[in-house]
Amino acid sequence: MISNRQQPLSPRLSVYRWHLTMVASLAHRASGLFLIVFMVFYFILLSLMTGAPEQFDLSLSLMHSLYGRVLLWLGFASFVYHFLNGIRFLLLDAGYGESRYAMRLSARMVLAVTLLMAAGAAVALL
């Protein structure tokens, strides 16, 4: 194994000036990590929803509690962002929209739609 402590390691958060496409990438990772937490919450809800009738009622009161609604909102917002930016990444991998201008524009579009959907969900949930 080549060991060289001086080699640059990605991504150097402390080196680069913050820019939009970097925020889009970091937000993809952050939303992905949160979705893993949400997956555990979903599993609990699903087992309650399909359990005894009083467990179904418990799942409803869990979802409608303040913490439940905050979790649902965060989960939904993370999902919308990860979904849209995931499509953006797939299109970039396929070779579409790779110019600096297009990458910034698509990142802006993904963020705008996410904010809109998250605001809508906030009205419905909170």
Binding site: L9, S10, P11, R29, G32, L33, L35, I36, M39, V40, Y42, F43, L45, L46, S47, M49, T50, P53, F56, S59, L60, M63, H64, L72, F76, F79, F83, G86, I87, L90, D93
Partner: protein, 117 residues
């Protein structure tokens, strides 16, 4: 004799599977959020949920969704850990712990899917 490449080029396979699972999740994960929304809003009763999750083809798609989700999560966590944790010992033990947790979680979920009477 073929040149031994060691672990090089493993990343191509992981790159591919991360995207293959993403495409599957793009179609299946919205269904999971739809179920949650219907129950939250009180549109679906417990009998509706049970009727749907117990359909044979739903159980198959549900299992497929779960496997794509776990694979996608595993590869995603791995990339993040490889990027931010540079001490091999911590990296390997953390990945071992996370992989074990994901495996146990996956078995529990599969048991739930196929356990509904």
């Amino acid at each position: 004799m073929k040149h031994d490449q060691g672990v090089s080029h493993h990343g191509v396979g992981e790159w591919y599977w991360q995207r293959a699972s993403a495409v599957l999740l793009m179609f299946l994960l919205p269904c999971a959020f739809y179920v949650l929304g219907m129950v939250y809003a009180g549109v679906w009763q417990q009998s509706d949920v049970l009727r749907i999750v117990q359909m044979p083809w739903v159980r198959v798609l549900h299992s497929l969704l779960l496997m794509a989700l776990l694979l996608h999560a595993y590869l995603g966590i791995k990339v993040v850990i490889e990027d931010y944790l540079h001490i091999t010992g911590i990296r390997v033990s953390l990945m071992f712990l996370i992989t074990s947790l994901l495996a146990v979680f996956g078995i529990a979920w599969l048991a739930l899917i196929w356990g509904w009477a």
